[in-house]
Symmetry: C2
Subunit: 224 residues, 2 copies
DNA sequence: ATTTTTTTTTAGATTCGCCTAAAATTTATC
DNA sequence: GATAAATTTTAGGCGAATCTAAAAAAAAAT
């Protein structure tokens, strides 16, 4: 089934608001979508008829199972496109949201699955939010310091707790950026250094001082 | 200025029909856009008011300068996305048109210029059609047999005059596909072989027999 | 040069997503 | 528990883009 851009935006907004409060109000939706409550009511009636939401007048709204599934598809697209924009086209984290708002409505499922593949099936977007997989499953992310990463487990870099020029310089030197896949292959207690692989490349050595500022995420049950 | 998807589609359709006949009829447009002549008339009035077209009732339509410029921007986007889909995501030539019809309406100019850069500023799309540059200039393409390419001139592979499995196998081996940038670095008359570079990589040798089936395009005044 | 045919435009209606203003309902307050 | 305040819905309208049916204009045929 294909839905209008407007309907997709409603579904996405309801999904996000449900995280705060399981029952979403007309007013909250109007605020989120920068529209008027009367317009929201109109749309809720349509979404209800299409069984994307459970809606009863004056009683707020919830996503149905199919509404939830749709929301996750849209969020998947949004976050994969954001990853693409930052990782492949060199956009800054701040400027990608607006563009991804447009790209998330491109309909082809095959496109998004191939993009996912092309990007290396990333688990999180550049802001550190998890990317649902093709089946709509949201990976459970453990965002922790790189120092806490068990040896042999792959993880994606989510955030850096030091944005100084020196730090960025160092990261560039190691070819590490947000989204880069890291794996610890060895730990050396003598000089507080770590041996890691970057994007599956050859092992390199970094200091624990650097690693202490790198926050990574990995799938709960990932064993590779 | 930002225009609706529908308006952009009209402008693009008028541009393409102008290539056949400098004055475009209402009926021709209706056919092209799979809509009704009455709908076309309505839209032409609006486009005329926005000065994207010259339109007088019963007298057909032409693009204005700004209409032409807009058409070229849309076509640029369409062809760059097609290139991306084939080259980076591995889509077949046939399946990309429909997806690019959606992607061409994404508005960000910065996005498309970065994409252009990321793709290596290709001169033609996977079908061999020229890609207008950021200024709207359409490169003049000389599509000729690779054997006719002067030594030292870079050219993009446009089409292959033999689609057999053996040929595709050979191309895959040499990592050559549609859009790949080729340059002849040497010719050996003794065994009818050519030394070429593929995407700026190290020189490799191919047979004239293979080269005879490869059709390439290069910018008229390109000297690199 | 009429008449016929084709093309194009006008007129009036429909759907979608939004609006404002007013009415209905729920929630909060005294 | 009655009343005031906030929320939500209904009613009626608007612009964009489309449609059908009918009228007007241009082109083709006799």
């Amino acid at each position: 089934m294909k839905y209008s851009t407007s309907k997709e935006n409603y579904i996405k907004a309801i999904y996000h608001l449900e995280q705060e409060d399981p029952v979403v109000s007309t007013n909250a939706l109007a605020r989120q979508l920068a529209t008027k409550p009367a317009s929201v009511t109109d749309m809720l009636k349509k979404l209800n008829e299409q069984e994307l939401i459970h809606y009863e007048p004056y009683k707020g709204v919830k996503l149905t199972d199919s509404g939830n599934k749709l929301a996750l598809q849209i969020i998947r697209k949004h976050r994969l496109w954001e990853f693409f924009l930052v990782e492949k086209l060199g956009f800054g984290w701040e400027e990608v949201h607006e563009i991804a708002e447009e790209l998330e409505h491109i309909s082809s499922k095959k496109l998004i699955d191939r993009l996912d593949e092309f990007l290396g099936k990333p688990k999180t977007d550049p802001h550190g939010d998890p990317i649902p997989d093709a089946a709509g499953i949201v990976p459970k992310i453990e965002k922790r310091c790189l120092l806490d990463l068990p040896i042999g487990v792959s993880a994606d870099l989510i955030s850096v707790s030091n944005q100084s020029a020196d730090m960025l310089d160092l990261l560039r030197h190691h070819q590490i950026e947000i989204g880069t896949r890291l794996k610890i292959t060895n730990r050396f207690r003598f000089d507080h250094s770590l041996q890691i692989t970057v994007q599956g490349g050859p092992p390199v050595t970094i200091s624990e001082q650097l690693a202490a500022h790198l926050y990574v995420a990995w799938a709960k049950d990932e064993t590779d």
